[in-house]
Symmetry: D2
Subunit: 247 residues, 4 copies
């Protein structure tokens, strides 16, 4: 099958949300998958290519500016002259849950670096491509999406290495939406509130009612719906949770 | 064309968002349109019926409990045994913008009654039907949607007859989402931030960049996308604004 | 003891927060206490007068515009030529906690009327006096304070007759702060989050750690501290909760 | 004059808010002033000591864990057996305002490090002392206060190196309030919204109405009022702005 006319990048692809988003966006775009280690994205790359889509993966650490710039250069070589229609930052904040007084400076920095420093680096690499894409005639406005969490709007004990980074990410996305909206780039922040149904969470919530975990494919459908919004009618932020979630 | 298998009600149908939502939901449902006066919905009813859908309209004042209960009874007679798949409260708060000290008690009440008292009455009439629908096998979870405004999250001078009602509505929708989510009813609140492109606003923002007004059809697409979310993956709240909006 | 040079009005005086605020403000002002029935304020009026302050009470229903206007007229007669230094709306929202589908329209309106309609009426009667006081040479800027609740920022199941009114009140206070701040009137909103220690709550939280209830006298100290802020340095909103409160 | 019975530390002391807070808290406590360079605090230390208080200063970079731990060790030696009654993080976020695509990774990190990493390090050093003080019989509960900014609740274009750090700080303070409130430590976050009247801002807002800048001494009074709250009646967050501020 012929390659698609534009590119979607997804950073933070494991077997859950990232894979689902990549598969969804592969219906219209060539997808580029980023993860720290290839085994996080290899199965998804294979699945997309085998089902008629076009996907490639790159190992990259979003905290490493050089690494991310290299990826964008390679993408440009791989898909010359194709605009970037979507760049999605889905990197889960890595963090260490523990009492505040037992947290190390390194542990505290970890959440910041994976949640928001990586987002900064990714956004800076992606935006010139997205701004340029906004001037081409794509079917949907180019999108810069960020996956957030409940911890972006609520601080909790023991989550000092997670929540501040997610608050910071939320703030960054709002700054970006205000700065780059008028340039035609659609910036959105998705607050995922609940347990996502992935291999890792298979044994969680065993006693909860059926459907208590968020479906990654349905998250991907929502990202896709937001991506399809015309520039007159953009969503910056929405929340997503299961019907039985307490909040 | 045969009638559809379920019903969608839209309260607050004029030539803008309400009409667009009705037309969108008419692709899958028999639609019932409510407005205070028939001339608000007649053109849309006609358009839907002529293009192969099924629509009826009822004049009703959402502030009048009896009036709204009557509508639901008539709907039940009109479409016997059909579940209610969606009930959408799109009534724009009526209000009077003026200095606080010139505002009358009646003017202050007006915003409250149209924004949130009407929503209370509409929700109470709709929920038994929606809960019942949640136990049937509809393609999408039954939805109870409310159209809100920026004034739901930001108080402003001269808007005392508008903003408190919108804050109250937002609160009501959160209470309802928490109470009826576990019963399978999807409750959402849409914050519309900007000028909607309707006949009434035709002359507004003449000097603004192209695309500075929100497209009602795109709002309807977003409502539809949220309606399609499975119960594992529900959005309670999202905002919608044009790419050039200052916020 | 000679009467003080200015007046403070407190609406919603029972044996808890209202009484404590009245006693605190009586140290500098003649205080006027409002409640629906005189037995709510009589003990406090007596206590203030016996301890060298000046207090009078008026029965008034804040939902009744005429009743409130009468009070302000009588106050003007009682204390001729004295400016109004503070007007404090401390009326607890009256509401009925129950499942949404069992709530009546009257029950729903009750919370609205006591929380926000009364605040509207009280503010309209008080503001001309406060604006006028802002031009006199009082020691502290005239203040218009409102007691709010957690329900002003969080919707919950079964609280549909309470929370929307508190959201609306919060919005109203923000509108007022923005409109009347520049005129020299200090408008504030106090979010009380927790059980207040009053005769009514004597038996509550029996098994909780010592100090689990909010001290009305300490609330009054906080209101007083905010009242003392100069106009360069005003607080619109703060929260108050016990050290052990979960939130 | 004899040294006071407890200690207050203020990190981030220049000629504005930090100095005012230090002078205010010096009325009851021995105060310890921290700044990166001694010339930031020397005048204030001198002024406090000359007016009968007790003050010492230490140069320290809040981003440097070792430096901050050293300060606390020295403080313990300087004032043996005296509890820490207050620790106030008043470090203004250092940041570089510029278009997002011109911002460097270092510039982005700068705001984070000064706003929130420093706060983390300071809080970790202070909390063991504050928890211990909560078990002694001080007149007021030990306090851990943080100075925030409007940018803590609102993202803006060109402020990507400032606002995310302030959001993160706000989140951190909420986590800390929830974790250490029950241990008797009062954690608060002050949102300063407006220009503070300092030597640096002397020429700003020249054409604005009188009183358009926030008075540092009045900020200090507010911090002091919050410090005096008993543990039954604590404020976590409040905002502060001039009466004419637009918001």
């Amino acid at each position: 099958m012929a390659a698609k006319q534009a590119i979607a990048l997804v950073a933070g692809v494991g077997p859950g949300t990232g894979a689902a988003i990549a598969k969804k966006f592969a219906s219209l775009y060539n997808v580029v998958l980023l993860a720290r280690t290839p085994n996080s994205y290899e199965a998804t790359v294979k699945e997309i290519n085998e089902s008629g889509g076009t996907a490639i993966g790159f190992p990259a650490d979003v905290r490493d500016e050089v690494s991310i710039k290299n990826v964008f250069e390679q993408v440009t070589k791989e898909f010359p002259d194709k605009p970037v229609a979507a760049a999605i930052y889905n990197v889960g904040g890595v963090f260490i849950r523990k009492p505040f007084l037992e947290q190390s400076v390194e542990g505290f920095k970890l959440g910041y670096e994976t949640s928001v420093l990586g987002a900064f680096i990714f956004a800076q690499a992606a935006l010139p491509h997205l701004i340029s894409a906004a001037r081409s005639s794509l079917s949907h406005p180019p999108s810069l999406f960020f996956t957030g969490a409940t911890a972006a709007v609520k601080g909790s004990p023991y989550l000092q290495s997670f929540s501040p980074g997610k608050y910071a990410l939320r703030s960054l996305t709002q700054s970006l939406a205000k700065e780059f909206g008028p340039e035609g780039v659609h910036v959105s922040h998705f607050i995922i509130d609940g347990v996502i149904d992935t291999p890792k969470t298979k044994e969680w919530l065993k006693d909860a009612p059926e459907g208590s975990k968020i479906d990654p494919a349905a998250i991907a459908d929502t990202y896709w719906a937001v991506h399809q919004q015309p520039r007159t009618t953009w969503t910056w932020e929405l929340d997503i949770r299961p019907y039985v979630e307490k909040w």
